[in-house]
């Protein structure tokens, strides 16, 4: 948990930058009595956005393409992990059946 000032200090960014990122909903800190509260996840995300802006020189337009795509990747990974866990919990004959079915299902080729 960190507040606004702690985040701009630890990520070495300008106040206005973080304000803009929150406004664009790139970062979604919780609010407590009108003050922002950043979780560890939020802070790691601010560092990521900072890397993308500084190190990779993405401008705002590029960022609004990249960030949602990245979120989709993470959302898909997290959903796939749950599916994999669910499959892992099935009895072996069913898993064997699934493997067999996957083997039979052709990969799409261009």
């Amino acid at each position: 948990m960190a507040d606004f000032d702690e985040v701009i200090r630890s990520c070495r960014i300008e106040r206005i930058e973080l304000e803009t990122w929150i406004e664009r909903r790139w970062v979604l800190p919780a609010r407590d009595d009108g003050n922002y509260v950043f979780s560890e996840t939020d802070v790691a995300r601010v560092s990521l956005i900072c890397d993308l802006t500084r190190d990779l020189a993405l401008d705002e337009d590029a960022m609004s393409v990249v960030l949602p795509l990245l979120d989709q990747v993470y959302a898909l990974r997290s959903s796939l992990r749950r599916v994999a866990e669910a499959i892992g919990g099935l009895p072996e004959p069913t898993r064997a059946q699934l493997r067999e079915q996957l083997r039979k299902t052709p990969r799409r080729r261009p």
Binding site: W26, L28, E40, V43, S47, Y74, S78
Partner: protein, 310 residues
């Protein structure tokens, strides 16, 4: 630590621009958050960052070239990358909100259970795919007294929804509350996930909590300590009468039975411990000084010997 020029793949006479460009290329290729499935990305990226830190700083680069420093020490302190959190329940809030609100996992999971279309025609049969929504977690700061007495607090979730959180009486620091059905929506008609709220209890100006007991230090005057007194002291549930016994001292501890915090499980209430602290008046007047001068001549007492210090 490898040679930074080698890490960035630039010649030793590369100018600033070339170094920056090389760094940018490698950062794109190896940033751990852009390659969540690549286990080697983290080490590689840190190596690249370290090399860039050294070569992008004119003074450091000059000293490295002159052999005054080696490449070690250019590593950055370890940091937590986003990918470590993005899959967790806290990261779930970024999966469907903000700019990426158009993700439709129904679409993806609709493929299971034979809903996939091939060449415009349905193939396969079976049940449509259903999956419960993901759990999400949040943290909430709660004042000491609200946690002790219970309260309702309205929180605004990052997606703009606000929910009423009932903080039960006796909630302790880092306790997690579960709000059923307040997580991410389910897929294909599946149940929504749950929201987990971790409570962070703020410290109080004078109360501290140990298990279900409350500890407080109460200042008393010299006359109250010597002669005894009746006074009121704050407890988590309001003011309570307290008798200060005659001859009390700093450190004397009194117990107010059942004035502590309710244990949610056993329904028993803790106690409040009041530790007295004798405080002299701000100004020692002549009357007090001359009285003590006379009194102390005939009433020596050795407090440090008693404490084992002399």
């Amino acid at each position: 630590m490898k040679d930074p020029y080698e890490v960035l793949g630039v010649p030793r006479d590369a100018d600033e621009d070339r170094i920056k460009k090389a760094y940018r290329e490698l950062a794109k290729k190896h940033h751990p958050d852009l390659h969540p499935g690549d286990k080697s990305a983290l080490a590689k990226f840190q190596e690249v960052q370290g090399a860039y830190d050294l070569l992008s700083d004119k003074e450091k680069r000059r000293r490295f070239d002159a052999g005054e420093i080696d490449a070690s020490g250019a590593e950055r302190p370890p940091r937590n990358f986003y990918r470590a959190y993005a899959d967790g329940s806290e990261g779930a809030k970024y999966h469907g909100f903000g700019e990426s609100a158009d993700i439709d996992l129904d679409d993806l999971f609709g493929m299971f259970g034979g809903a996939a279309r091939a060449g415009g025609r349905r193939r396969g049969g079976g049940q449509p795919f259903q999956m419960p929504g993901a759990d999400v977690s949040y943290t909430l700061r709660v004042s000491f007294l609200d946690a002790a007495n219970g309260a309702r607090q309205r929180i605004t979730l990052p997606d703009g929804r606000s929910i009423d959180v009932a903080i039960p009486e006796g909630t302790h620091d880092r306790q997690t509350l579960r709000l059923k059905g307040q997580g991410q929506p389910g897929i294909g008609g599946g149940e929504p996930g749950d929201a987990y709220i971790e409570i962070h209890v703020e410290p109080h100006a004078f109360f501290t909590r140990k298990d279900n007991d409350v500890h407080v230090e109460i200042p008393v005057t010299l006359d109250e300590a010597i002669l005894g007194a009746k006074t009121e002291v704050p407890t988590v549930s309001g003011l309570v009468n307290l008798t200060v016994p005659k001859g009390s001292n700093t450190g004397t501890t009194l117990r107010l039975k059942g004035r502590g915090i309710l244990d949610a499980r056993t329904k028993a209430r803790g106690d409040q411990y009041v530790k007295l602290k004798v405080v002299l008046p701000d100004q020692i007047d002549d009357e007090l000084r001359s009285f003590i001068e006379t009194w102390s001549k005939t009433h020596k007492y050795d407090v440090r010997r008693k404490a084992g210090m002399a």
